[in-house]
């Protein structure tokens, strides 16, 4: 009795840990998007300031056209990897069925 209880408890702690870690992973991955969106907002804010002050808005616009897609692509690659790794179970099934 005691033994199995202990095991169940251990299992619970283990699954709790796994949940916390999974949450932390999700949080860190979302942080990346917060960072990228933050940069985008920052750049858009700078463009609006330069438009307001008539201070060469074309230059700002040109730079933002390069900068924003770069950051978004970087975040997308991480997203792709993050969800790609999650999908492991389906692929295993697929692989075995193909085999």
């Amino acid at each position: 009795m005691n033994e199995s209880k202990k095991k169940i408890n251990e299992g619970r702690i283990k699954s709790m840990q796994d949940k916390i870690i999974a949450l932390a992973q999700l949080a860190s991955f979302l942080a990346m998007w917060v960072f990228v969106i933050g940069i985008t907002i920052w750049i858009i804010n700078l463009i609006s300031v330069s438009v307001e002050l008539h201070d060469a808005p074309g230059v700002s616009l040109g730079i933002s056209l390069i900068a924003i897609p770069v950051f978004i692509t970087l975040a997308s690659i991480l997203t792709y990897a993050y969800f790609g790794f999650k999908k492991k179970d389906n692929s295993k099934l697929k692989n075995s069925s193909e085999d």
Binding site: Q17, I47, D55, V59, S60, A67, L78, A81
Partner: protein, 447 residues
């Protein structure tokens, strides 16, 4: 007492050893480095407290060591990601033990270099003005954006190929399992995951090359966008990029030789790796000289008085020793050491690399200071002596880099284990097939 982790049975046991075994040397190194960093921190606090007057900068030499080191460190950071990306892209099989180390250099040094402009600020408390009222038209903001992009890209580029290794450490158990578990993103070595990882790395390595080139081009723009003689030059973009890759390879070689000695990696970093990278260093040295030659020849031939004044000042003025030292370190020494087979030993390559790193630092000094010392307007020529504060922060920067690298090697393998295994398992057949496909013959044969 934590249980001893078994790793001796692994083929690549040497690569696990630094993570699970900590010697006395580790604590001594970390202690010394922390002391240097504390000293630098104290000096920086003095600077913030009293003002930039504690440095050697003045009017007209308003930029000194901080900007020199900024350009220098960012240059060093080009070693990593760019070289690793190029080697991966060209499917150079000898890349496997090098890429991780190169990428680590980039991530750490870029963080250090990127902070240097903040050290240089008179009002670091106002740096957040960049967010509320930044001007994207200013080359400094181009830098902020491109360095952030490069830092993000190179950190991801360091991290993604590390995931399978982190998963290996996680499965070994022992210290910090939760950390490895968190960082491994649920890696189980399945075929699908491998496919996803490879695809992500492939996209990333293509992206990282233009970003890396843009970073150093933009840094050169800080100088070349002004009207100052000696700076206002179109060649500066590629010149800086070449210089950056040049100093980057040299720094990578020094680090490789040091790691080989400290972590006993003689079986992984073989002579061939140093020979190949040494050849690359030699090529970059010649390329650097070509750019330097073009830069000065156009100046001398045109003989625009202000331009000429600065060139003569560099050749014969108080900074002449640095100019000729730069030529010696960047061109003469590496060409002699790397050009002749009998000097091209690992020791020879080490000396050439050290010379190049010093020479490239001198090059940055030669670009920043003499132009500022000779303003267009007829003011007395300025002179610049860096103060103890600037030296301390320079030492501190180097110490942070070494500390970062030492700590990294404590937690993660500095040579990619899974890529080494993959190389052992698949590379030979893969390369054979690839070579088969190069050979003349019917297209179908290669398939």
């Amino acid at each position: 007492m934590p249980k001893k982790i078994q790793y001796d049975y692994e083929t690549d046991a040497v690569l696990y050893r630094p993570i699970y075994e900590t010697g006395k040397g580790f604590y001594i190194t970390v202690g010394i480095l922390l002391l240097i960093i504390l000293w630098a921190l104290f000096m920086y606090i003095t600077q913030v407290w009293f003002g930039l007057g504690v440095t050697g900068m003045n009017q007209p030499i308003t930029w000194g060591f901080y900007i020199v080191n900024f350009v220098f460190f960012i240059g060093i950071s080009h070693a990593g990601t760019l070289i690793s990306a190029i080697l991966r892209l060209s499917k150079a099989e000898w890349r496997r033990p090098i890429t991780r180390m190169a990428e680590v250099i980039t991530a750490i040094v870029l963080a250090i270099g990127g902070l240097h402009p903040i050290l240089d600020l008179g009002r670091p408390d106002r740096v957040l003005n960049l967010f509320t009222a930044g001007r994207l038209q200013s080359p400094l903001l181009w830098d902020v954006t491109s360095i952030t992009a490069y830092f993000t890209a190179s950190t991801i580029y360091l991290y993604l190929p590390m995931i399978p290794d982190i998963a290996r450490l996680r499965d070994k158990g022992g210290k910090l399992t939760w950390l490895y578990n968190f960082l491994s993103w649920g890696w189980q070595d399945t075929e699908h995951q491998k496919k996803v990882l490879n695809r992500a790395i492939n996209i990333l390595m293509i992206m990282v090359i233009p970003i890396a080139i843009s970073v150093h081009t933009v840094i050169s723009y800080i100088f070349s966008m002004t009207l100052q003689p000696g700076w206002h030059s179109t060649i500066f973009g590629p010149y800086f990029v070449v210089g950056a890759i040049f100093s980057g390879i040299a720094a990578l070689l020094i680090l490789m030789i040091a790691s080989r000695k400290v972590f006993h990696l003689e079986n992984y970093l073989k002579k061939i790796h140093f020979q190949y990278l040494g050849t690359l260093l030699l090529i970059m040295s010649l390329l650097w000289f070509y750019f330097t030659f073009s830069e000065y020849l156009t100046g001398i031939f045109g003989s625009e008085p202000h331009e000429m004044h600065i060139i003569l000042y560099k050749f014969t003025g108080p900074y002449a020793i640095f100019f000729w030292g730069m030529i010696l370190c960047n061109f003469i020494i590496p060409v002699i050491l790397l050009g002749f087979k009998r000097f091209k030993t690992i020791t020879g390559i080490l000396f050439a690399s050290i010379a190049v790193v010093i020479g490239m630092w001198l090059e940055r000094l030669n670009i920043v200071v003499p132009s500022l010392a000779n303003p267009r307007i007829e003011l007395p020529i300025g002179i610049y002596f860096p103060s103890i504060v600037e030296w301390a922060l320079f030492m501190g920067g180097i110490a942070v880099f070494i500390l970062g690298y030492v700590l990294f090697s404590k937690f993660f393998p500095i040579i990619s284990i899974w890529e080494t295994e993959e190389g052992r398992k698949e590379a030979i057949t893969e390369v054979e097939e690839r070579i088969q496909s190069y050979l003349p013959g019917d297209e179908t044969i290669s398939k």
